[in-house]
């Protein structure tokens, strides 16, 4: 069934998952100038851990989800505290290598714990399929899109209405200035990593449900593409990030449908390179002042 609206819908669902991951990346780069490649690993841990909680320990889904979010948030805070904070102010390459090290460590730890092969993911939501003319929508797709949009609206509210959120936005604008007016960057960093990593955990669970399987190598490429979304949308712009995520989701769905599924990643990264060549600070980004 190769109708365009159907592919757009699929792209919207995948784009939502990218958005959940991209937000954390956008904030960590925006505030702390960290290219947090290991974020994809946190997302993978979210998928794998919830698998164990659901399938082996047979926890109720809500409890499993809550535990997963908490563990992922804790993991993010741990990374911030012990891997990134000591490197603050260092060359980007140094934090980047450290982040790649974390990703490698997580991925291979997961291979040791869960084995390298994909596991089928418990489908705790009974699947419902709705047809709208020629379009097929599942309740899961609706859940993914609605939940993501709700979370993004919530995040926007936090950013615009709370002190912590305003401090975050101020730091994105001007990290040095934020420090001068007394914003505690350490506390802010912990908050950003906790929230971003918690969202990554949610994305891991949703991906498990959507793709129906999880495996230790699911994080690396997914995280990279989420980062591509951030860069395409424009660093330091939350709206741009979400836009970039949906753009990538749609482009991937269309590439898979009309060109070749094998070229999906190629096209995504070609898009990234192209956008940056034309607009070096992304679609909605402004040039970021260097601290």
């Amino acid at each position: 069934m190769s109708v365009l609206p159907q592919h757009l819908l699929n792209g919207l669902a995948v784009g939502s998952l990218y958005a959940l991951l991209a937000i954390g990346l956008s904030l960590t780069y925006g505030v702390l100038r960290i290219i947090h490649i290991a974020h994809g690993g946190v997302y993978m841990i979210g998928g794998m851990l919830s698998l164990t909680l659901l399938a082996t320990l047979r926890l109720p889904p809500v409890l499993a989800l809550a535990t997963t979010v908490l563990v992922c948030a804790g993991l993010g805070v741990l990374f911030e505290r012990f891997a990134y904070r000591p490197l603050r102010g260092a060359n980007v390459i140094v934090t980047l290598i450290s982040s790649l090290g974390l990703l490698l460590a997580m991925e291979n730890l997961a291979r040791i714990v869960w084995g390298p092969v994909p596991h089928s993911y418990p489908q705790f939501l009974p699947l419902r399929v709705y047809t709208l003319g020629t379009i097929v929508i599942t309740n899961l797709q609706i859940l993914i899109v609605v939940l993501t949009i709700a979370l993004m609206i919530g995040l926007q509210w936090v950013l615009r209405r709370t002190n912590l959120g305003l401090a975050t936005l101020a730091a994105v604008q001007n990290a040095r200035g934020a420090r001068l007016v007394g914003i505690n960057i350490d506390a802010l960093a912990v908050a950003i990593f906790a929230v971003g990593s918690g969202l990554a955990g949610i994305a891991g669970v949703l991906e498990g449900l959507y793709i129906t399987s999880v495996d230790p190598s699911m994080g690396a490429m997914f995280g990279l593409k989420a980062f591509a979304a951030v860069v395409i949308g424009g660093m330091g712009s939350v709206v741009g990030t979400i836009l970039g995520a949906y753009l990538i989701g749609l482009v991937e769905a269309l590439t898979a449908a009309y060109i070749s599924a094998g070229l999906r990643d190629v096209i995504t990264f070609a898009l990234l390179v192209l956008v940056l060549m034309v607009r070096p600070s992304g679609l909605l980004g402004r040039r970021i002042e260097r601290a």
Partner: protein
């Protein structure tokens, strides 16, 4: 003669280390000296290897012809792939080069000329005076290639173009204002670095007699960058130390691959925390 001193395992390791030194030293020119972060160096390695594979299997060229041809092709692709460094902000260049690396790997997997998922097999081994090279011959060729790369990089870095490259790394605006065409030198660094990665790719293709897309993954790019950083960016011997250590350590760890890579990852994290300048770090990790 080398056969008597070293067994086949040691010779294979020597060969791999030499290729890694070549890759690390050439990336060091781009990232360490010229300051252009690249996580896509495997792309040049891949382009060189596939060029050699295609020219030797389809046109019957020998290694002695595919080597310069691969170097030339990668030099040209370095000029193209280096172009984003002119537009993109420093931090994003890492992501763009990473993206370009994935694009090259993805093309290798999807194009017909590269054999798609099957790769290209049946690449002839290296012949010298009518004799096929043994393991010792390959190891020696590798050592010579690494030595040439190191010498060329050192000569460039102790001369006018080298001064210009480091000026571009330190302060592109000040470099431009004293008359250094920063665009030209950034792209030149990419092209020269690419040339040697391409040469290494050709050697690898004729050694393995097979090339497939998964030999040139993001993992390869990360490994090479790690060698440069762990050894010490912008130092003469850093890439050698980094390449030797990061090739040997996983080899010598008699664990399964997963345990090895877990430790490798943790090693990188600890290394960056306690020794961010690398083992031979000459220039301090800059505060910005």
């Amino acid at each position: 003669m080398l056969d008597f001193l070293l067994g086949p395992y040691a010779l294979t390791l020597l060969m791999l280390i030499s290729i890694n030194i070549t890759l690390a030293a050439s990336l060091n020119l781009i990232t360490g000296y010229a300051g252009q972060v690249s996580i896509g160096h495997a792309a040049f390695y891949a382009i060189g290897a596939y060029t050699a594979a295609i020219l030797s299997t389809a046109f019957g060229w020998s290694f002695w012809l595919t080597l310069p041809a691969a170097a030339l092709v990668t030099f040209a692709s370095g000029l193209i792939i280096g172009a984003p460094s002119l537009r993109v902000e420093h931090d994003f260049l890492a992501i763009v080069t990473l993206g370009l690396g994935l694009v090259v790997q993805g093309l290798a997997l999807n194009l017909n000329i590269t054999g798609g998922p099957y790769g290209i097999s049946g690449i002839p081994r290296i012949e010298l005076f009518g004799h096929q090279l043994g393991l010792a011959g390959y190891a020696l060729t590798g050592v010579v290639l690494a030595a040439i790369t190191l010498t060329v990089v050192r000569r460039i870095m102790t001369s006018r173009p080298g001064t210009a490259l480091m000026a571009v790394r330190e302060d592109p605006l000040a470099a431009e204002v004293i008359g250094i065409d920063t665009a030209r030198y950034k792209v030149l660094a990419f092209a020269i670095g690419a040339l040697f990665a391409g040469a290494a790719g050709s050697l690898y293709a004729h050694y393995a007699t097979f090339v497939g897309h998964d030999s040139f993954s993001l993992g390869t790019s990360i490994a090479v960058l790690s060698m440069v950083v762990v050894g010490g960016m912008g130092t003469q011997w850093g890439p050698v130390v980094g390449a030797v250590l990061l090739t040997l350590i996983p080899e010598l760890m008699r664990f399964t691959a997963a345990y090895r890579m877990l430790l490798y990852g943790l090693l990188l994290v600890l290394m960056m925390r306690y020794l961010p300048q690398g083992l031979l770090g000459a220039f301090p990790a800059r505060r910005r």
